[in-house]
Symmetry: C2
Subunit: 481 residues, 2 copies
């Protein structure tokens, strides 16, 4: 076993355990998972992803956003105490001398750090990048330890609710554009949540902990959430029950009006501010033509610590369960909110820059689209090759190389087989299996006559054209198709 010299024994053990581990649910067959909770993205995955990301990014650009990027890791201290109960999921780097670093947990905190460090007071930016969380790998339904986030944020002091409304408009445009089926965006306000806690009798010190519990209402029944609040977080049962009355409420702008009249909530200054902003928000949403997609929902709390105002979360109302398609439960597909205090935490003088933003849950969307394609038996091409260079004769490598150079140099996407003497059938079969639409064929006859044959793979029709017209003819055909 000379190979043993090349790989340390420990690596062998790791590799073997990888190979013996059953393939994970969502990548059965094609791709086996690599380190736990992560996976390789095959060309099939990537093509679907790139199409979805293109749509998302073009929407962000339509709304005037710039793009930026930050490093994969941040100083550990920058990320500490920003994420509430989930902070334990951060990946730390080993201390190899130097600073203590952690992999970024989201794109929002690095953005806030960037604004503060560069004293940027106003910015509309998007950011598409990987983030990492050490969650126990539930690799079904698109939850991985490494995943992609697509964020859009508006930083700056502006008149109230205009940027907030635009964020909701963007979520609607993206979810409509992706044709994922009907969706609803739940909206609430952190000040209403906190006001509700206050008037129900939650001690202020428990606000964030109870907020985390409420946030689980989309995955857990009320009675379990109530149990967590009472038994684990020490909330008085009658307080929990008062909260229970509120969190059932959801509706349109009329619910906002109703809450203004609520005998308890209307006594709370914070809640009134939140309600006032929501009323204005609904006015703008109506002008944007999306008010019917938005539901004011008192059960929406959002887990992250840094929100200070409007919060929102988009859910798919139903995934079209066609014959044979498994019902999907994917949770929220987009979310966000206002965080006016985060930038100030990174500024030595505490100068605040108000921000509002959204994150598209692209991993879940990738999963839904892939499942749907699987059900429909849809296949995607993983290359964009337009022309294949073939020959029916032996010893024609030189001519093929000259021909393909002409195509490449004209910007045409072209391939050939890396064989000296491939069979014509093998070459044509390659085109059919990879979806290449055109073949150009050169043989002795063609060389003698100064022509090239062009073959349409779909129709199998062949025509001979003059060699010097080749590029023009191919460009014509490609522009027509």
């Amino acid at each position: 076993m000379p190979l043993l010299r090349l790989l340390p024994r420990r690596a062998w053990a790791a590799l073997l355990s990888q190979l013996l581990r059953p393939p994970c649910a969502s990548c059965a067959g094609a791709v086996r998972c690599q380190s736990q909770g992560t996976r390789d993205l095959s060309p099939q995955h990537m093509v679907v992803r790139e199409k979805i990301l293109d749509l998302v990014i073009s929407c962000f650009k339509r709304h005037g956003a710039k793009v930026m990027d930050t490093p994969a890791f941040e100083l550990k201290e920058i990320l500490t105490e920003k994420y509430g109960e989930d902070s334990g999921l951060m990946y730390d780097l080993k201390d190899q001398g130097g600073e203590l670093l952690s992999l970024r947990y989201d794109l929002t905190v690095p953005f806030a750090r960037y604004l503060a460090m560069n004293k940027v007071k106003k910015m509309k930016r998007y950011h598409v990048g990987k983030v990492w969380r050490r969650e126990s790998p539930t690799i079904v339904q698109g939850r991985y330890r490494e995943f992609c986030q697509c964020d859009f944020d508006i930083a700056g002091q502006f008149d109230p609710m205009i940027p907030d409304a635009e964020c909701l408009k963007i979520m609607c445009e993206i979810l409509s554009g992706l044709q994922l089926g009907d969706f609803l965006i739940k909206v609430n306000d952190r000040r209403i949540v906190d006001g509700m806690f206050a008037v129900c009798g939650v001690p202020e010190s428990k606000f964030r902990a109870i907020c985390s519990s409420i946030d689980k209402l989309d995955k857990m029944a009320w009675k379990d959430v109530r149990h967590e609040m009472v038994a684990k977080k020490g909330l008085a049962p009658e307080v929990a029950d008062r909260i229970g009355d509120y969190v059932q409420c959801h509706g349109g702008v009329s619910l906002v009006e109703q809450m203004f009249q609520d005998p308890r909530l209307s006594q709370n200054k914070q809640a009134l501010e939140g309600l006032g902003d929501l009323k204005l928000l609904f006015e703008y949403l109506t002008l944007f033509g999306i008010a019917e997609k938005i539901s004011f929902d008192l059960s929406l709390a959002r887990g992250l610590d840094y929100y200070t105002g409007v919060i929102y979360e988009a859910v798919l109302l139903q995934t079209p369960t066609q014959a044979g398609e498994e019902p999907l439960n994917v949770g929220s597909v987009a979310a966000g909110g206002r965080y006016d205090g985060l930038v100030g935490m990174f500024d030595p003088k505490g100068h605040k820059v108000p921000c509002v933003g959204l994150s598209i849950g692209v991993e879940r969307i990738f999963y839904i689209v892939e499942q749907r394609m699987k059900t429909k038996g849809e296949k995607v091409r993983t290359t964009e090759t337009q022309v294949f260079v073939a020959t029916p004769q032996k010893n024609f490598l030189q001519e093929r190389l000259k021909l393909i150079t002409e195509l490449w140099d004209a910007g045409i996407k072209a391939e050939m087989l890396y064989k000296n003497n491939p069979k014509l059938l093998t070459q044509l079969h390659y085109c059919e299996s990879t979806g290449i639409p055109l073949v150009v064929i050169i043989g002795e006859q063609e060389l003698k006559e100064g022509v090239i044959k062009i073959r349409s793979v779909a129709s199998r029709e062949e025509v001979a054209i003059k060699r010097e017209n080749l590029v023009a003819e191919i460009q014509k055909r490609l522009s027509e198709s």
Copy 2:
């Protein structure tokens, strides 16, 4: 200081030291570095990057490559003993329970691991992604601890030198396309390097170490490399001098012929194999029309352990030093080679998959292009907004919101100010400073007459058009510009 509660003292110290640290050379002014040796990429950086990456990726696609991605971290064992002397630069993750992980050091080893784990025997793929190396931060001239790699590789058993020649063709297409000035690609073969070592009398156990020294010839003078080989690596001085005679040689295909006749080298089987392949390679390069860009260079060694055959490295021959432009010394801008043994190292049975590939040194290219733009005073737009929605009147927010919705819904990139009552001059100034070409203006008069004014920012001409023709008129103007 209520803020102190929000940020632990350690975070403050870290932040302050960041803020007090002088900005790094290459991002002076705009962007301050974050954790040592990394940096944020501002919209200005990103726009330049995306243009360059678009060109690189479109070339990879022109040659029929699929795209894939792998996780940012790998099992540490996968990366161990693949990178020669530089392995110490790997970033390890902290052991937080579970597997030992490291950030990927390049994209080649993860690709080989992917092929082996998925039993893929044939694949032409590209991969654009970040990699991380704990180099002492020399953040001048585009060397960072986090950087982007753009790799293209062809895996599979094919007839000799056809894929290898295509890799060189791709490097030429990309470097020509980027208009970086004249360039040269040095070519050699690991078997010729090893054959040269053997006939010069290097003990086989020292091959890789001496190879690492030779690899430094582009940065160090021969006498310093010789000193390292003799004093640090224990090579006999006369052996070093014999190597010295060879590594001076560079030339075209005629040098290949000459080396076939070399009394010592022609006695070495490995070297002869390498020379035979290079001869064939030059034949194909001539057919591709790029032979004059390629130089057979016996001083080229490449530091990485995994190369087994042809190796290559592209260097810019001169950077056009126009008046005021600083002379640039950027080293190699693209490199690669054949690595036939790497995939087999990850296969339990040692099954080999021959591979050849290339990596574009995009960070250095970003740096060159940015420097050039700086010298020329060129500015890039960081948004793509086509139309700005303005009003000269107070209380026109509602109309502006309705108008911009029409534009967004028609796919037009549009912005407006997030103010209830902005001044017209402020609005027009925003368009001029951000490069938005068109303004649509709505006021009382226009509303009454059912028209909208369209203003060209460049010419300051204004025309009134019917409101219902707005989208069509804007699309027409945008398609004409």
